[in-house]
């Protein structure tokens, strides 16, 4: 049993290419140890911050970098930090979102397992920027080894004085808690995450108030994704301008993409924003083409909650704007590739089953809607589809979209709507002929 997840990365490229900072050392088997991390320049940024930067300067640097949240929504990180009320007498909190449960996404786990100190250092810097003295990392409970790694790294960081009281003699105190989940995708949603840390059921909260104003324990709280925070030390080391020089006009820096599904070389690849999706799928250095030389049927570019792309849409840059322009989203950067043998109804059934199972159940449209959708889609898949079912599905989706407390409702229906848009005939065929147009039967090796 290997401790490292056997996931393929492009660390070899990163080692040669200074632009690819997140993966530079992820293949070094000792990188998780603090000595190795420090030898690779680790905690330099934290020392720099502690050595005299003001919280405002840190925030400004991150604003300058143009870093946007890597958890899915892509909100500018520096700007989010700036929302923490300056005059609030309450304590502030930072929560690093390591719930990583969006189907297709497996990038944060690699960072945590292989470079945990990078995450801690980023969290520390962010904490300082917002005036927080107790930071949390919320790791999904199934990631047993990640959790162990993270706790070990945290202990080391304390022992070396990177965390704790009066860090580097600066007078600044910072404590850290590793909080672990219990199996609930919804706890990746930031307000549900906060409830989960508070010991409540992990259900979403209505906004406003936004967490930056009233989050954990009703105090100002910033929730950031693992990858977002892991990028921060590099921004501090090399400067916001450097980071902003990477990527595209509006999508700065690099991003890790989790590539899965019907590709020959699935894995996690760090690339500059704007990297071509087609290249990602076909280039031998990345996906290396479709399994069994089959024809591509479709791609989900940003995790299970983002709309499908068809083969004619894949010559596109992997960045927020480009994907939005063609009706999809960058999401968490999880690219799922489907080849021609994949039945769309079967696929959607898998997805809606997931969202139904993960709905927190608080708001009516999501709770009832996802259940109803699953029932209809299931009967279509099983050969019991009724005329009008597709229209009904589309309409139910419309009644969920934009009407729920949190984006899970949207996430559940956007792929469905796009699947109907792109492959309506296949749905109709399924209903009329009571079977798949494409016979899906995926055997494992």
């Amino acid at each position: 049993m290997t401790f490292y997840s056997p996931v393929i990365t492009n660390a070899a490229d990163a080692a040669k290419d200074d632009r690819l900072h997140l993966f530079k050392y992820v293949e070094d088997p000792d990188q998780y140890k603090i000595a190795t991390y420090e030898a690779h320049g680790g905690y330099k940024a934290w020392k720099k911050v502690m050595g005299g930067m003001t919280p405002q300067q840190v925030t400004d640097e991150v604003k300058k970098s143009g870093l946007r949240g890597r958890g899915g929504a892509g909100f500018p990180t520096g700007m989010k930090w700036g929302f923490v009320p300056k005059d609030s007498p309450k304590p502030r909190y930072l929560c690093c979102n390591a719930d990583e449960s969006e189907p297709g996404t497996c990038k944060d786990r690699v960072l945590m397992e292989r470079d945990p100190h990078g995450v801690i250092e980023g969290m520390a810097i962010a904490s300082y920027a917002i005036g927080c003295h107790l930071m949390f990392i919320y790791i999904r409970g199934e990631f047993g080894h990640c959790i162990e790694r993270m706790e070990q790294a945290m202990d080391e960081a304390y022992a070396k004085g990177h965390l704790g009281k009066n860090i580097y003699g600066s007078g600044y105190d910072l404590e850290m808690i590793v909080h672990t989940g219990g199996g609930a995708y919804i706890c990746g949603e930031e307000t549900a995450l906060l409830n989960s840390v508070e010991g409540e059921r992990g259900m979403s909260r209505i906004r406003p108030p936004f967490p930056a104003v009233e989050g954990l324990y009703a105090c100002p709280t910033i929730v950031n994704n693992v990858e977002s925070l892991a990028s921060v030390p590099h921004i501090i080391n090399h400067g916001g301008d450097w980071y902003a020089s990477l990527g595209t006009e509006k999508s700065k820096g690099t991003k890790i993409f989790s590539l899965s599904g019907h590709v020959r070389k699935p894995g996690n690849y760090e690339v500059e924003m704007g990297f071509n999706l087609k290249k990602m799928i076909y280039d031998p250095a990345y996906g290396n083409g479709i399994l069994g030389d089959k024809k591509l049927k479709g791609v989900i570019p940003g995790g299970a909650s983002t709309p499908f792309l068809t083969p004619d849409q894949i010559d596109v840059g992997l960045d927020y704007e480009s994907l939005q322009t063609i009706g999809s989203m960058l999401g968490s950067g999880a690219i799922i590739v489907f080849h021609e043998d994949t039945c769309i109804v079967w696929t959607i059934l898998k997805l809606i089953h997931f969202f139904r199972h993960e709905s927190c159940g608080k708001c009516t449209p999501c709770r009832e809607g996802t259940g109803w959708l699953e029932q209809i889609i299931k009967r279509i898949e099983e050969g019991g589809g009724q005329p009008g079912d597709v229209e009904k599905i589309d309409d139910i989706c419309g009644n969920i979209l934009g009407r729920t407390i949190c984006p899970l409702g949207d996430a559940a229906v956007m792929p469905i709507q796009s699947a109907i848009k792109h492959w309506r005939e296949e749905w109709q065929y399924h209903i009329e002929h009571k079977e798949c147009l494409v016979k899906t039967k995926f055997e494992f090796k």
């Binding site: 393929i8 449960s101 219990g182 992990g202 590539l259 019907h262 090796k445």
Partner: protein, 158 residues
């Protein structure tokens, strides 16, 4: 008390770090789950006593989360991801294969109480599909051969 002394002190230690005691619910459930392999009403009661949070709140939180089995299960809990990325690479047939090898249906436990087989949602191993989790360990890029080896090894350890 169903919780061991070690578990109780671990829970107390964790609880002490949080600003509010209710936050200790998930950590406590996790500790209990690691000790027992499941959680149930007796466990909620015990946790309630240890962290001083009303019993119902433990039950409410525990049943929200699907990771903790709610009754005792086999020594090895095999959880196969059936979500999309794994399914594209044969997760369903993997489940079938395991059912056949273990002689049980999904959701059941082998007679010798060694294995319980269930299927679960995405476990964050999408690029190394198909995969399964046995207790805390992830087994990825599974093939028939690997599965045979893993089951062999686990039986050997038992």
């Amino acid at each position: 008390m169903i919780l061991s002394e070690a578990s109780v002190s671990k829970i107390k230690e964790k609880a002490a770090r949080y600003p509010r005691k209710k936050s200790a619910i998930l950590p406590a459930l996790t500790v209990a789950y690691r000790q027992l392999g499941y959680v149930d009403e007796e466990v909620y009661r015990a946790i309630s006593q240890v962290i001083g949070v009303p019993y119902v709140e433990i039950a409410e939180a525990a049943t929200f989360y699907t990771m903790f089995p709610k009754k005792p299960r086999g020594r090895y809990l095999i959880q196969v991801c059936h979500n999309i990325s794994c399914a594209l690479l044969g997760a369903d047939s993997l489940i079938g294969y395991l059912e056949e090898k273990l002689g049980i249906q999904k959701g059941e436990t082998t007679e010798d109480d060694l294995f319980t087989l269930i299927s679960v949602e995405c476990l964050g191993s999408c690029s190394t599909a198909p995969m399964m989790q046995v207790n805390d360990d992830f087994y990825e890029n599974l093939t028939r051969e690997k599965v045979d080896g893993i089951l062999q090894e686990l039986k050997g350890k038992a």
